[in-house]
């Protein structure tokens, strides 16, 4: 294992210490660094919380900030945080307008967020949940509820965050997040494994010339493992899966997120995006918002994912809104 760390046991907490030292806009509650919140929650606003395992920076906590989320419960590497931690975050960020949970579709997270919802209910905090399940590789059409949540959750955060900033009610913020979820699709490809600090060896093996299309961000099985091809045919194959899912018509608008899994250079992400844009242009679909970089990683895993949000007028407006977090900055357009 070749990592910059001290005791692997302290990996997450020392990372969090670094984050708090670097950014005064965020802090933690209940004396627990893993209960990560905005320093100054905006009064009256619907609170939005997320949570999930560490090792995916800037996911999850990186989206806590203006125009995005209000808090995040932070788990160990690839581990759900606890229901208690979620509850503490929930209590702090609730401004009386209720709290929306947005998180990824993983059993561990679901079980804990469900428990947290019950606990919050006992504290008279109204909680709704939207569970991201954008990974088209993880189950077939009709079984979307089984799909994993991956990088596309970014669009849910952006939409819900902007909606909440606009002053929408809990129900409306949830409606917006649900709509973004229904209209978001992601497909990924992995080229290398990654090492969980406390385990110290690669999570899986993959040949020196192999790729796995559809692999999950914890190394879950994808659709096919084969020899790495050139970028353009690879993108074509990946985008076929996305085009098969929704009716992207001429003059429709989309937002595109090309996400690096951690070990893949930015240069290559732009080469992938180039082809995505070509395919969209062939269909006369307008690429209206573009984000390229690392948005949901698997530590040092080499690979990338492509997420498409099928816009409508409301989502278009929400994508354009300002966001300012320690990890994600977006000037309003």
């Amino acid at each position: 294992m070749k990592k910059f760390l001290n005791d692997p046991k302290n990996f997450v907490d020392e990372m969090l210490e670094g984050i708090y030292l670097a950014n005064s806009d965020v802090t933690y509650v209940n004396d627990d660094k893993r209960c990560y919140v905005k320093s100054a929650p905006k009064p009256g606003k619907v609170g939005i919380a997320t949570g999930g395992g560490s090792g995916h920076l800037p996911l999850f906590l990186g989206y806590v900030g203006e125009g995005m989320l209000d808090g995040a419960a932070v788990g160990g590497v690839f581990q759900s945080p606890s229901a208690d931690q979620m509850l503490e975050v929930t209590k702090y960020i609730d401004q009386g307008a209720g709290v929306l949970y947005i998180y990824g579709n993983y059993t561990g997270d679901i079980i804990n967020f469900d428990m947290a919802t019950e606990l919050a209910d006992m504290e008279d905090i109204k909680v709704l949940s939207v569970v991201g399940n954008d990974d088209v590789a993880s189950s077939v059409v009709g079984e979307e509820h089984k799909r994993r949540g991956v990088a596309g959750i970014f669009f849910l955060y952006k939409a819900a965050g902007a909606a909440s900033e606009e002053g929408m009610s809990l129900e409306d913020v949830a409606r917006v997040a649900e709509k973004a979820k229904d209209r978001t699709r992601t497909i990924g490809v992995a080229l290398s494994s990654c090492v969980i600090p406390e385990i110290g060896k690669p999570s899986f093996e993959i040949g020196a010339d192999e790729m796995e299309i559809g692999m999950g961000i914890h190394g879950e099985n994808g659709i096919s493992r084969k020899k790495l091809t050139a970028a353009d045919p690879l993108v074509d194959e990946m985008m076929d899966k996305i085009f098969a899912e929704q009716d992207y018509k001429a003059d429709d608008g989309v937002a595109i997120l090309v996400n690096g899994l951690g070990g893949t250079p930015l240069e290559e992400l732009y080469i992938l995006f180039r082809r995505v844009h070509q395919l969209m242009s062939e269909r006369k679909v307008n690429v209206k918002h573009v984000w390229i970089g690392e948005f949901a990683t698997s530590m040092e895993m080499a690979g990338a994912s492509i997420s498409v949000l099928h816009l409508d007028e409301e989502l278009d407006r929400l994508m354009a809104a300002k966001a300012d977090t320690p990890f994600f900055k977006h000037f309003a357009k």
């Binding site: 229901a83 089984k146 099985n221």
Partner: protein, 211 residues
């Protein structure tokens, strides 16, 4: 030993922690096949926390000790099995009510509540290749032993045997939940990781009751 009493709980959790400390790497390897390799880490952490918690609770009602052990697990190991196991111990402890000792009847009630709690929290069905596929046979076995008037040592021994068989039977199932669902086909032929935890639990309990 035909009864577990309040003063035994600390030793029981020490034994449980011992089991999961010993099986740490084995469970990591098992979970690695169709999961994320964390099971050994989380189970060890869960039972370490539980054991530390009950160490100083000997004066408390038994049910409460189990519930507090569960709560400690939920904080220490919030993975799927960590949270489900925590739920199991909290519900099982609650089912013990004011009982001051655990005989076959209480043991059966504990495991039924344990299994029901997990079924409710995890929303899995029997046959979905989850821990439930061993938990329900454990509860069934204990209830049958209770009806037959079997002693705690024998009842838990029998339950442990039945759990092993049920665990073996999970090999034929295809995972529908959790990370293993992503490897549905690959999961065929492999025993379910969470079910292995359940079998280890009852095995350790049986050994404890037959010391």
């Amino acid at each position: 030993m035909d009864k577990i009493t309040s003063g035994d709980i600390a030793a029981l959790f020490e034994a449980l922690h011992g089991t999961f400390r010993d099986k740490r790497d084995e469970l990591i390897a098992l979970d690695a096949k169709v999961g994320d390799s964390d099971l050994g880490i989380t189970m060890n952490a869960a039972f370490e926390a539980a054991s530390n918690t009950v160490a100083s609770l000997a004066d408390n009602p038994m049910g409460k000790q189990f519930m507090m052990a569960g709560a400690a697990m939920a904080k220490a190991a919030p993975s799927t099995m960590g949270t489900l196991t925590a739920t199991g111990f909290m519900r099982g402890g609650k089912a013990l009510g004011d009982a001051t000792e655990i005989g076959t009847a209480e043991m059966a009630a504990f495991w039924r509540a344990y299994a029901d709690g997990i079924a409710e929290r995890g929303k899995a069905k029997l046959g979905d290749k989850t821990v439930l596929d061993v938990l329900v046979p454990i509860a069934d076995s204990l209830e049958a032993s209770l009806a037959a008037g079997v002693s705690l040592g024998d009842a838990t021994g029998k339950a442990s045997q039945d759990a092993k068989a049920a665990l073996e039977a999970t090999k034929d199932l295809v995972a529908q939940h959790g990370k293993a669902a992503a490897f549905a086909d690959k999961s065929k032929g492999l025993q379910d990781a969470g079910s292995t935890v359940a079998a280890l639990l009852i095995e350790t309990v049986a050994a404890f009751c037959n010391r």
